[in-house]
Symmetry: C2
Subunit: 136 residues, 2 copies
């Protein structure tokens, strides 16, 4: 039940991008510098985030990144799933196989648990994360 480091970094990057959203585009290099993250790592994350439709990139000289949607319309679940793939607590949720096979009496309950976790993460928007020090 731990988030991968890349997903953690992706959230930090998106928050930083949200802060620059008013100022137009921001280059990947600047983003790396401001977040203290290695440049190649930022590039890798940008690839996945743009592929998921969360980030919009303008190529060529003078290009850069910007949010594809308003920060309030981007949720934590989307960022995490863009980096880590679909959230599936157990392998059997997505067609995997259990040793217990068909006799597993717990399997019918896993989708319910899965949705509970997804719901908790879907209730948090990027705009809320970018706000400064709101503990409540």
């Amino acid at each position: 039940m731990r988030l991968s480091n890349l997903a953690d970094y992706a959230v930090v990057m998106m928050c930083q991008a949200a802060r620059h959203c008013g100022g137009g585009r921001i280059s990947a290099g600047e983003l790396a510098q401001e977040t203290r993250l290695p440049v190649p790592t930022v590039q890798k994350l940008v690839s996945r985030l743009t592929g998921a439709g969360l980030l919009r990139s303008v190529r060529g000289a003078g290009g850069g990144l910007q949010l594809a949607r308003p920060a309030a319309a981007i949720t934590l679940v989307e960022i995490i799933e863009a980096v880590e793939g679909p959230i599936a607590l157990t392998t059997c949720v997505e067609g995997g196989e259990c040793p217990a096979d068909a006799e597993c009496r717990v399997r019918p309950h896993w989708p319910q648990v899965n949705q509970a976790v997804r719901g908790a993460l879907a209730g948090i928007s990027l705009a809320a994360l970018a706000r400064e020090k709101e503990i409540a």
Copy 2:
């Protein structure tokens, strides 16, 4: 955001133990046979679950395992944390270090996210998981 296999197995084991709870104790070997899990794996899980106070074991000849508490009083969070350790989505939640260090503006929000996930898992009891095919 995936659950480790051991945690998954632990849930299956606990459900099976809950079904035998009325019949008194059950040996680790029987538990392994009924869940189709390797015996050494079951032993390792039993170690952690008893250490966490979820399972009670009687040693010696004719011994076995049984739930330390009623199934309704055991939640999914307890089982997962007994196997995987405390739930911490990010390393910084538990005193770890970020590359972004003190400048990280997202860190104040992580405990809130962490609690949301924990809450989702704490709302599901072992008794609910042991019930047969309740999709709702």
